[in-house]
Symmetry: C2
Subunit: 493 residues, 2 copies
């Protein structure tokens, strides 16, 4: 993934576009690699953001559109041999599968022409399995990459008597297991804890991200290393929190584009924790499957709303400082890390679905079909909060979600949201237990989630269709280098 | 897949290979179409079984390997210019899309050239979303096609007072909704009940299959139409059934290769049932994602075992008579239908994972890594139940699962298993609530599930690692033609 990393550019250290559509960094998928190479890697808003993004474009789009899992989408800057004209190449590439297909179907000269032109070949289906995201790096994986098709969130509590040494050994076992499971050439022979559920598949863009809850520090005698930013989240009046599904000593986020690969990783990590830590809670989520749409776009949540448009983008000058703890930040062991706010947000879908679409759009502030703000333009047009309609009313209502959540309404506070949808069935009352496994990343929750949620809780027209049922805040340290394990600087500091 | 259907061959009427890797029948995915045409059949065991399977190779492998979702599949014998024999009516309307698609590929010189040269071109990632499986046909979809990456099972009970007329109107609404949602050119404008969750994606091989439970007939005054085969399943001594998650007036099976597409379908059907029927129970499942492995092979279950090898194959002479009610069967309204046995089978994974792999293999009777029977050979080698090892012991143990379940041990009884895995989280005790949403199809449960389960329950070494927690038996009528709805012959008979 080093190709999309530019020294000093502010691009994140972990490669971002390896999931789904792009297979950069994958030694086992020559077809996909070449397709990605020709097209640049690509997803989401490449054409829009392209000119400013340089080499990091692929990541920018990947992150900006955190749940877009579409197919191969080119970027004019990233295409080595493309005409960088005014035509949106994204339009061509956005339907790259179709374009390539036409060439192939036409066969003969048409196919050859398409190949020579170089940017029409579709990304191969098999890249879903062979794509890999490196475990090692300055950042942990699973923050800037798009959310995978399947996600597991799980919190562990240390077993009675498990001390700092035991925790260090656990993080070592976990890191080694993840290092192995995320390799492009996953070992064919079963490793320790391996139930062979994913024996023939993957890594399918598997990422595993580790974090520490506030309670971890007291239990391991590391109170002096407790980050100030890990102060308990305030109580929000609208919360309906189930404490048994909140918090935890350790937090693990698993994502993969195959449910068996993700389940396998979950079980391997659970078994590796035996005698040291026990599962406190565990939740399952999903987002769009790679290739499920030919349209390059931000994903939708279970309200049907396009969700993630206004996420910070790596090309934003302050992206790094918003999302990651700086290299010389405090505490030192959190350098390159981030803080994850995790909320299980149930959507009251029956109530929501009873609203006419026009009313839903007013609640959100965006058009449902394409995500364009009601102040005009397309999905990516900046929201004009000051715009009035001819009748004198605000185009974006006073309690519209995007107004209340906007950085401009919150002293600039922002966070990188990378959520999964969840659906735990339909209850005996006919109501789906479904919504968002909200995961938000920031360098400091007091400049991210906390002020925004304070504002949303009550003032947001959307809030009466949501119920926050679980909550957690975790300190996610930087990534591990070769031979290291995640958290080593804390546990051996 | 009309082209893989041979008049009188016993091949099923619904195209089988359209899911995931193959995009036959998809008017919007020329890339996949051409790739499929060029690659010849490639899913599952096509290479192994090909010579014996003739035109039905693609389907045979797809079904025999029910959860194989690997790459490109076409059937080189299935080219329309080939000696396809008589064209049946159901080919024309049931799977017309498939014929058109293959025709385009194989029809011209370009197609022929590609067939000769192009074995290595990958199927496009975008086919995941664009692949569609026709709703209309002599059979309902979702029986012979491979299980999709995401599945929902849901049972409804009729509301008090809902009569035969109300049920007919519901089936009409449901059928029309599914007809629309499964179209290759899904409408861009939202239809009734549409929450737009899948607005930009799919159909992603969506299938929806409808069935009637025994209780349906009494409530609608259709007792005289109750099939004999719908007699209550016997109590099995090993069962631990939760009656609130068993049975039901109506049963719906949803599958799609994208979780948002599947969830959307579930919600559309739930909303269309409002005031007529309420959800009785609902379960979520999954199987391997298309493209997750580059190896064409049978899928694995959550025990890590390759599962589905011995399924009946459409090329078996008795496939049709085993799985489907014949055209002149009884009752007449079930012609072309099948009976679905649904079991939520929890796997006691911690107990299982404690067994050494060698012991697990004895319990199953197959090698874990590749599914080869312990009597020798490869996965598809017929099991030799009479084989002894040098030490005089049976190669396949007396209580091995594949021995006890074998048709030879059950007077020839067999069924087509098409299950999803499920995982509903890890409980407070650290135990995963996970296993199999077992769905088995047969023309008569008394010659399928019932005798086999009677044998397994107790005698099967695997049974102590399983717990049957829910159960249902449903009469699944034949498919609907243009303008018809599923169950019309029952409800208007």
């Amino acid at each position: 993934m080093s190709t999309s990393e530019k020294a000093g550019s502010g691009a994140p250290a972990q490669g971002g576009a390896g999931t789904g559509g792009s297979a950069q960094g994958n030694r086992k998928a020559p077809a996909a690699r070449s397709a990605a190479g020709r097209k640049g890697s690509a997803r989401g808003k490449a054409a829009t953001d392209g000119p400013a993004m340089g080499q990091a474009t692929a990541e920018g789009s990947a992150i900006g559109e955190a749940v877009a899992h579409d197919s191969a989408i080119g970027d004019r800057k990233a295409a080595p041999s493309g005409p960088a004209g005014g035509v949106s190449r994204r339009r061509l590439f956005g339907v790259a599968g179709a374009a390539g297909a036409v060439g192939l179907v036409g066969g003969g000269a048409a196919g050859a022409a398409a190949t020579a032109a170089g940017h029409h070949d579709p990304v191969a289906l098999t890249t879903v399995g062979s794509a890999h995201i490196p475990f090692e790096g300055a950042r942990q994986a699973g923050i800037v990459q798009p959310a995978q098709a399947r996600g597991h969130l799980v919190a562990f509590d240390l077993a009675p008597g498990a001390d700092r040494r035991a925790a260090a050994a656990l993080l070592r076992r976990w890191s080694d297991a993840v290092r192995s499971m995320t390799r492009a050439d996953r070992p064919a022979a079963p490793a320790a804890y391996d139930d062979q559920v994913a024996y023939d598949a993957g890594p399918a863009s598997l990422t595993v991200t580790f974090g520490f809850g506030r309670s971890f520090f007291g239990r391991t005698g590391l109170g002096s290393a407790l980050p100030e930013a890990l102060a308990p989240l305030p109580d929000f009046p609208g919360d309906h929190l189930d404490r048994t599904r909140s918090d935890g000593d350790l937090w693990v986020q698993i994502g993969a584009d195959d449910a068996l690969v993700a389940f396998h990783a979950l079980r391997v990590l659970q078994k590796a924790a035996r005698d040291t830590a026990a599962v406190r809670w565990q939740m399952n989520g999903f987002s769009r499957t790679p290739g499920a749409t030919a349209h390059p776009m931000t994903g939708r949540n279970l309200m049907g709303q396009i969700d993630g448009t206004n996420n910070p983008k790596p090309t934003d000058p302050d992206f790094e400082s918003r999302v990651f703890v700086p290299a010389h930040g405090s505490p030192a062991w959190m350098a390159g890390g981030s803080y994850a706010v995790v909320r299980r947000i149930r959507m009251l879908l029956d109530d929501w679905d009873h609203l006419p679409v026009a009313r839903q759009e007013q609640v959100i502030g965006r058009r449902k079909s394409d995500g364009a703000p009601l102040s005009g333009g397309t999905e990516t047009t900046p929201v004009d909060l000051a715009k009035f309609r001819p009748d004198g009313s605000l185009a974006i209502a006073g309690d519209a979600h995007i107004r209340v959540a906007a950085p401009a309404s919150n002293s600039g506070a922002a966070m990188l949201r990378r959520s999964f949808s969840y659906h735990d069935g339909i209850g005996a009352d006919g109501v789906p237990d479904a919504g968002l496994l909200f995961v938000a990343w920031q360098a400091d929750p007091m400049r991210g989630f906390v002020p925004v949620q304070r504002k949303l809780d009550g003032a947001d027209g959307l809030s009466r269709f949501l119920r926050h049922e679980a909550s957690g805040l975790f300190a996610v340290p930087g990534g591990a280098g070769p031979g290291e394990y995640v958290g080593q600087r804390l546990l051996e500091g």
